[in-house]
């Protein structure tokens, strides 16, 4: 019974198949359009050349001395007609007319592409370039030429990678269809603004240099006809933002937004960022807006599977940032794989070619999920700043070591590759250790500096935006999506009311406990409590989440309320409650090696399992008989063949051995089959003569058991014929997993008075009505929260088998569990068989994207 916890369906809801509608893909349409245009151009050229050839031919004839003047007249007339036709065509199809220059351009592009050193970049660049309209390509081709002419090969490679990154933004954005990418929009006029001197290094002062320049688009986003700036930056060695020119560009955007020249601006960064730039951009205090308040900063992170995960580092003041979604990588590997296979076959194929097997892909997807988890945690505790600013290379080779001080000095391609690989590995390692999410400091409690209306509103709006950006998360957290402004205001009001209530309770309690005559705190310590004296506080985000559920609750649904505490029990009442309970639960999984599918039979009983085993045996015998038939047929076929390949000779030998085995077992098989038939007839006869129904059943059962024993014998004989267990396992369906448990779970919360309040946990079926730990504790601080699991032992006694810290709302340290154990003992609960487990499976903290704005 050690595996309670991971057999429970906490994840069932989220693992439900994700449905995504297949949409028409703008990139595919653009590619179709491009190929049509190329075809049209070719046809046009062919026609034009045709007329030119005709004219040339006439010219030859005109020079021919044999041509009569009569004929010449006709020919001249003809030539004129052709010339007119050419002009007509050139006017009518003016877009194809200047094809000479275009053809040259195309050739040049092709030559440049062939010079791209890395195959993966070359492939992607070509593919992405074809996805955008021809006239927009020029800018990228020019940049490509620039990068390729760089003598430093590493710089050249990183440059091209950055270009591919930039181009892929267009692709992602058009594919997601959340923003309009309009290649035909007009460039906004030049912007005059105050920037820094080109070589400036001190950015603490206000910029004073008058500058003027044009805004150029990386990706031409349009919002209601107005331009929206979207810049993509890829900096793997240098820290983005350390140069004056980079900051100036953002200052230009800020000014352009303030003047209404553009709708907004987003800069998306991949790689490293200058930490001072972050401070400059976001401001260091809560109230400070930073130097570019209206510019949004997004960070893109590459996951182990190669997919991207994007999150907002800094929002724009108007909250009108770029609309984007992350790929469905935070789902389970199985459902993600299924989704890719069914809905995105091209991505699936790419992963297959990269990782070889589905198993390996699934491993990578599982890693993706862990990394995303770690990313969210590091955003919460701000360690993300170290991840996105530092070099992050551990255990470098002696050769690489001297370059780490300034990675831009790396000039050797192999060292750069080492740098890149180690950097990724180190960052992944760091993120994986981030998965611990204990609440140690009560930083966002109801009595903290965050308990303000502004903060609640900000975090609520950001959470809603986060759900929009991560649709797969939104599907899981559907209940947390608010339908409009009115609901948002309702939630804010509710949160503030709850915060006030909790705050006044906690502050009064603190005052009370700090009184020297009050020994509550010492008593807890004596019993092994080691956390903060004030306990573990519920944070604002979780109060918000509860308020959302309460506001969103539909008729007949339970929301989240900190009132009506009588709904729950004191743990002492559990002792009376348990003896009458029986919660045996059986579940089996049947694996079919032929289809590769596993079928789960949930909530079954012993009879079902027995019956299933017999059915499987029958099915397997049928399968093995078919297999033997196949062997015989194949033997015949090969035997008659005159010119056999060496492989076929080998196969024939094997088949002969099989058939020999069949011959040898033949008699035994016949006799077992015979006895099965005999038993069947006997069973019918015997049952008929018996009049008592219960006895009838018993007789039938007795015979059935005998029959299945014989059938097993038969299966064993067949198994030998086809080549033993290995061959058998290839065709035989079997029960691959069996869950057999008798378990009751409670969620618990320990209050300041040592009371343990419990609520029975719904562990199967519809779990939407489950109570939250915050409800048990009325939102107040706790000295422990998680789950208690009781199991029925062989003697039919319920016994406490697990105490854990599984509360996503409070996230207490597992250290609180020993205190809980002591308390339970005091209350007369047997804890001799209990296991303490560190688990925060239930519930997840809301990702907080505000890290840099604190």
């Amino acid at each position: 019974m050690n595996d309670i916890g991971n057999k429970l369906p906490q994840n069932e809801q989220r693992e439900k198949e994700v449905k995504v509608e297949t949409e028409e893909n703008p990139l595919k349409l653009q590619t179709e359009l491009n190929s049509l245009e190329v075809g049209n151009q070719q046809t046009f050229d062919e026609i034009l050349q045709g007329y030119k050839d005709l004219i040339a031919d006439i010219d030859v004839q005109l020079k021919n001395p044999g041509t009569t003047s009569e004929e010449k007249k006709k020919l001249v007339q003809q030539k004129k007609e052709y010339q007119i036709k050419i002009r007509e065509l050139q006017v009518k199809y003016s877009e194809f007319a200047s094809s000479g220059a275009k053809e040259e351009q195309r050739k040049k592009t092709q030559e440049l592409i062939e010079r791209i050193p890395e195959e993966s970049s070359r492939k992607k660049f070509t593919e992405l370039l074809l996805g955008i309209p021809e006239k927009f390509r020029q800018k990228y081709v020019e940049s490509l030429e620039g990068f390729l002419s760089n003598k430093n090969e590493v710089s050249s490679r990183t440059g091209v990678r950055g270009l591919v990154f930039e181009l892929s933004r267009i692709n992602t954005l058009t594919n997601q269809g959340l923003e309009v990418v309009d290649f035909d929009q007009e460039m906004p006029p030049s912007v005059e603004y105050f920037g820094f001197e080109k070589n400036a290094t001190d950015f603490t002062q206000e910029p004073t240099k008058k500058l003027k320049s044009q805004i150029e688009f990386d990706v031409p986003v349009a919002r209601d006809g107005k331009s929206y700036v979207y810049e993509a930056k890829s900096y793997h060695r240098m820290q983005y933002g350390s140069l004056a020119t980079q900051r100036n560009q953002l200052l230009k955007y800020q000014t352009a937004i303030e003047r209404g020249a553009v709708e907004g601006a987003t800069v998306e960064i991949r790689g490293r960022i200058d930490p001072n730039f972050l401070k400059w951009a976001t401001g260091t205090n809560i109230a400070e807006a930073g130097s570019i308040p209206d510019v949004e900063i997004i960070y893109t992170f590459e996951l182990p599977s190669g997919a991207e995960y994007r999150f907002v580092l800094k929002r724009s003041r108007k909250h009108n940032g770029l609309k984007f979604q992350n790929e469905g990588r935070s789902n389970t590997p199985e459902s993600t794989l299924k989704l890719l296979k069914e809905k995105h076959p091209d991505q699936y194929a790419e992963l297959m070619s990269k990782f070889g097997t589905e198993e390996e892909i699934a491993n990578k997807l599982a890693e993706d999920r862990k990394i995303i988890n770690g990313l969210q945690k590091s955003v919460l505790d701000r360690s993300i700043i170290g991840i996105i600013t530092n070099v992050n290379v551990e255990n470098p080779s002696a050769e690489l070591q001297p370059y780490l001080e300034d990675p831009t000095t790396i000039e050797s391609v192999s060292l750069f590759d080492e740098y890149e690989t180690l950097r990724k590995e180190t960052i992944y390692k760091k993120l994986l250790t981030k998965r611990e999410i204990i609440n140690v400091d009560n930083k966002r409690s109801s009595y903290s500096e965050f308990a303000t209306r502004d903060y609640v509103e900000k975090s609520l709006r950001e959470y809603q935006a986060y759900l929009q950006q991560n649709p797969e998360m939104a599907r899981i957290k559907k209940a947390y999506i608010l339908d409009g402004e009115e609901s948002i205001q309702m939630v804010i009001n509710k949160v503030m009311a709850l915060v006030e209530k909790i705050k006044s309770f906690e502050l009064a309690r603190r005052q009370n406990e700090e009184n020297p005559e009050n020994h509550e705190r010492e008593r807890r310590e004596e019993m092994g409590y080691v956390g903060l004296p004030e306990g573990v506080a519920l944070d604002i985000e979780h109060i918000t989440i509860d308020a959302i559920q309460e506001v969103n609750k539909k008729k007949g649904q339970t929301g989240r309320s900190y009132e009506n505490i009588e709904r729950f029990k004191d743990v002492e009442a559990v002792k009376q409650y348990l003896p009458d309970q029986d919660r045996r639960y059986l579940e089996i999984a049947i694996y079919d090696p032929v289809t590769g599918k596993t079928e789960r039979n949930i909530d079954v009983n012993d009879t079902h399992i027995k019956r299933t085993s017999v059915e499987l045996l029958k099915e397997n015998i049928k399968r093995v008989e078919d297999k033997i038939k196949l062997i015989m047929n194949r033997f015949e076929e090969l035997n008659q063949k005159t010119d056999k390949t060496p492989e076929e000779v080998k196969e024939l030998k094997q088949l002969t051995a099989r058939l020999k085995a069949k011959e040898m077992q033949g008699k035994k098989i016949e006799s077992v089959k015979h006895s099965i038939e005999l038993l069947k007839t006997e069973k019918v006869a015997h049952v008929k003569t018996e009049k008592d129904n219960t006895k009838k059943k018993a007789i039938a059962q007795e015979y059935d058991e005998k029959i299945s024993r014989e059938m097993e014998k038969l299966a064993g004989l067949y198994k030998e014929i086809i080549g033993g267990d290995r061959e058998w396992d290839k065709i035989a369906k079997r029960i691959s997993e069996k869950i057999d448990q008798n378990l009751i779970k409670f969620i618990y919360a320990v209050g300041s008075n040592g009371e343990i309040i419990v609520g029975e946990e719904i562990i199967r079926g519809d779990v939407s009505g489950r109570a939250a730990h915050s409800e048990l504790a009325q939102g107040r601080n706790v000295y422990g929260a998680g789950e208690l699991a009781f199991s029925k032992n062989k003697d039919g006694q319920w016994i406490l088998t697990e105490i854990n810290n599984g509360s996503g709302h409070y996230r207490p340290s597992v250290l609180t569990c020993s205190f809980v154990k002591k308390l339970l003992e005091l209350k007369g609960i047997n804890t001799s068989k209990v296991e303490i487990r560190d688990t925060l499976l239930r519930g997840t903290p809301p990702p907080d994207m505000t890290i840099l704005e604190e």
Partner: protein, 55 residues
């Protein structure tokens, strides 16, 4: 969706152009074969003349 509609429109236009160009190409091919035929006829005439002269 706006973007997709735009692209679809462009594709439709390009397809229309394709049709028109194919018609043009057909016309051209007829012209080429006609001119070729004329030339062939002329050559035959010349050969006839030469033959007659030689007799």
């Amino acid at each position: 969706m706006k973007k997709i509609d735009l692209l679809k429109k462009k594709i439709d236009k390009a397809k229309e152009k394709r049709q028109a160009l194919l018609v043009e190409l057909k016309t051209l091919k007829t012209l080429v074969s006609k001119q070729g035929q004329n030339k062939d006829m002329k050559k035959i005439e010349e050969l006839k003349k030469q033959l007659l002269n030689n007799i």
